[in-house]
Amino acid sequence: MGWNWGIDGWIVLVGILSACSCALLGNYLVLRKLSLMGDAISHAVLPGLAIAFILTGSRSSWPMFVGAVAVGGLTALLTEAITRYGKVEHGAAMGVVFSILFAVGLILIRQAADHVDLDPGCVLYGNIVQIPLDAIATTVPPAVLNLSIVLVLNLLFVGLFYKELKISAFDPDLATTQGINASAMHYALMIMVAITTVANFEAVGSILVIAMLIVPGVTAHLLTDRLGMMILLSLGVAVASAVCGHVLAAFGPGWIGLEASANTAAMMAVVAGALLGAAILFSPQQGILAKVVHRAALSAQIVRQDILGLLYRWRELHDGRGQAMRRDDVLAAVGGGRIARRALRRLARLRNIERINLEGQTHFRLTGSGVAEAVQLVGSHRLWESYLDKHFDLAADHLHAPAERVEHYITPEMREQLRDQLTDPTHDPHGKPIPRHQTPDPPTGPDAGRP
């Protein structure tokens, strides 16, 4: 089974059109915390389809389309009404409305089952694989045309009302004060969602519609902070899931030795989910991996600074002599473990500390540049202690712990401000001198680099 442009090409095109039309609106649903509205509308349109069918007695598209869109709009209206007048939480109101409407639809279809063959299953799964069969009769399958129209409508809607949609998505109250009718924008969006949902049913089924409304938007939101970029990225995710989804569905089972092909629409949803999973893990700003790396780097930096501070205080204690500290003592003082060992190696490589052998054991002491670094840190620590002592009613033995945490975050500017506020103190509340930053002297002897 190879790639056939006449079949696979049309399927992928339909997938792209439908995914893009959904993803475009989905961004706003995700931003407005209305993600599940797509779910609600796509389930609730069933009675609209059924009523249109019973009234007209035909399966022609237009009445059904109109009926479904009307019920879709009704879902949004009823949900708002129940939320506002019944003071029911929004999600619950949505659940009440769509489940009841779906039940009504099921009953109607069952009642009409004698006369018609209306399969609610078709609404759920869609029929994307059969679309190219329509292309045998005409050159372009009607689904492609319909979905193109919907996509163009959505593009126009988003393009024309870009500013209005943006403001009402982020701050409906601001939108109202600026003369934008936020609730009109809300219902317009809902109607567009209903139109998109219904138009996509036949091709890809409601589940894919829900997936494509939500997943690309959420994925894009993880990757960027700008709305325009978010929309572009979501379209990219949509296209990628359409293409990869179909390739995987058509050929994936063959790769693992199965003589079958999977449901394309469903596979598109799975691929979109996988892309979201990748974004959750690897997004540069929001991703879990980025966070882990950031935290690891921060804790490594803090351990390094703690070692510098430790060695500085050690040096202060043994004024001039024996200022090198045993390696094991250093490690134990900063908590030990791999992070501490790595921090020691890094500091040695940066030439902030140097390794010497005394009595057959490895010792470390600060170099000139190490002293310069440590002076900043210990200076921050002692300045903060003085500040706390002056402005807060803390006992003297309670000053060290907060300063130990804050010292890593005090910038040189803050240090200067603290100095100014405290009128340039020389000693901290414990009587230790507050070191000042000087240009480091070249290390010349055991006492080199002392401030």
Partner: protein, 497 residues
């Protein structure tokens, strides 16, 4: 640390023995006993596992049911009807109970997500078993459902992803995965996909004795679980961070609650299908919320609502032709919800409309009285005011003013004089002077303390005069004016002719 604190529960419970937690769990336990009793009485019917599905439904459904059949169905004479009705009723009761917690936890739609999320589990169980084995299918569904819950809860780690988006993602992606698996199964093994249909739309009518037994077991587990962890669930529902600060293992409690939801959802799949099972979780709870502010009564009411909707729905669908049970149950629950939303005494629409209407009437009457009092102030007590004078005093329409005066006359506040004029009765004068005093006091207060220009205070005071409590009036009098005297108007009463 987390696990240890979960075990702290019994000690805390014992310590708070006289607290509300202990008292409130009692009714829930009664519900368990009731359900168990109902189950015992009917247990003689749950012996054999006959297949009584579709044929009897079509048999009862050909003709319109007469009263005899109605009674027959309502009193559960048929074995088949009895199983279906009892099974769904138990399901409804348990779903109502656990649905209340999910509703209060603002997780109403989580049930929707995890009912869809069960699909891949069902599909994998389907692949593993040589023939359709219900137990295995339900096990697969449960595992996948719990996984779905864990994914939703886990996605909270990323602050950008809001809970509704997480629910939607799990719903659609898990369902997509299930569909992929099923589309593969369908091609490899033919004729099996009927099983899928029954999970999506439910097939209560085909319920067997052992299915009802399973539902009963799960219902008892869920209700017992809710009773045992009542206090924990309540804490987590109402103030999660407070519970966390108290040292409760909120995440585990959350997960436990959602696992009970998964259990109900999975057994509900068969009865009402995966799209409608969410209705059983949400609608009874949302309906019960209208009637009470107390969690205990809400849990009980939701259980009763759920049971009643299922009872009515299942009975109706057994009686009538071509009524899918799940859908009728949901419609019945929807009727309960609509009635609750309309007529419940405090939160109902009618009640709030009546409240607004009576408030509007009171405000209008007080406006009329104050207008009369201002005329009296200028022309002396007992003065007669003409209708057109009154009409010019405020922006009110003639017919409304007419109705107002008629009503005030009926209440003995004003009396009609010849030539379409009116004057206050002594009772009306007392009331009118009270309102006028409130109005003036508030005007004075605004001028003195809020630093608002005298020409701007009339409108503000107009709104506040009706709702000033007596204690506040006393305080205002002490601060601003002499007791019992009406302060003069700080601005000209310009409309008086």
């Amino acid at each position: 640390m987390r696990c240890r604190t979960l075990k702290k529960r019994p000690r805390n419970g014992a310590a708070g023995n006289d607290g509300p937690g202990r008292v409130l769990t009692a009714p829930v336990s009664w519900l368990v006993v009731g359900i168990a009793l109902a189950f015992c009485f009917s247990s003689d019917v749950f012996g054999a596992g006959w297949v009584l599905g579709q044929q009897s439904q079509t048999a009862t459904g050909v003709v319109r049911p007469g009263p005899a059949e109605l009674i027959r169905a309502l009193s559960l004479r048929d074995y088949n009807t009895r199983i279906v009705v009892l099974g769904t009723t138990l399901l409804g009761a348990a779903a109502g109970v656990i649905g209340t917690f999910a509703y209060l936890r603002k997780r109403a739609l989580l049930g929707d997500a995890l009912s869809h999320a069960t699909l891949p589990g069902i599909a994998i169980a389907f692949m593993l078993s040589s023939q359709k084995h219900l137990g295995l299918l339900l096990l697969g569904a449960t595992i996948a459902g719990v996984l779905g819950v864990i994914v939703v809860l886990g996605m909270r780690m990323v602050p950008r992803i809001k809970e509704d988006a997480a629910i939607g993602v799990v719903l659609s992606v898990f369902f997509g995965a299930g569909m992929v698996l099923f589309s593969l199964i369908q091609q490899m093994r033919t004729g099996d996909e009927a099983g899928l249909q029954s999970f999506i739309y439910g097939q209560a009518a085909a319920m067997l004795g052992r299915d009802a037994m399973l539902i009963a077991t799960v219902a008892v587990i869920v209700v017992l679980g809710s009773a045992l962890f009542f206090k924990e669930f309540r804490l987590v529902c109402f103030d999660r961070s407070y519970a966390g600060a108290q040292g409760w293992a909120v995440n585990w409690i959350d997960l436990l609650m959602m696992c009970l939801v998964v259990l109900i959802t999975v057994v509900g799949l068969q009865a009402v299908g995966l799209i409608l099972v969410v209705a059983l979780l949400i609608i009874p709870a949302a309906a019960a919320r209208f009637w009470t502010d107390r969690l205990t009564s809400m849990v009980l009411l939701a259980g009763v609502f759920g049971a009643a909707s299922c009872y009515v729905g299942a009975t109706l669908s057994a009686l009538m032709p071509r009524l899918p049970t799940g859908a009728v149950i949901v419609i019945a629950a929807g009727v309960v919800f609509a009635i609750s939303m309309l007529v419940s005494p405090h939160r109902g629409l009618l009640a709030s409309m009546v409240r607004q209407w009576s408030l509007a009437r009171r405000v209008a009457r007080q406006h009329l009285l104050r207008a009369m009092a201002e005329f009296e102030e200028q022309r002396g007590a007992g003065t007669v005011v003409r209708f057109d004078e009154l009409l010019r005093k405020r922006t009110w329409r003639a017919n409304r003013l007419n109705r107002l005066i008629r009503r005030a006359g009926g209440g003995g506040l004003v009396v009609a004089e010849p030539d379409s004029s009116f004057r206050l009765t002594s009772h009306g004068r007392d009331e009118a002077r009270r309102i006028l005093r409130n109005h003036r006091l508030w005007e004075m207060y605004l001028i003195k303390y809020a630093d608002i220009a005298p020409s701007h205070v009339d409108r503000d005071a107009d709104e506040v005069e009706h709702i000033l409590p007596p204690a506040l009036v006393t305080e205002l009098e002490q601060a601003i004016a002499k007791a019992g005297r009406i302060p003069p108007s700080p601005h000209p009463l310009e409309t008086v002719v």
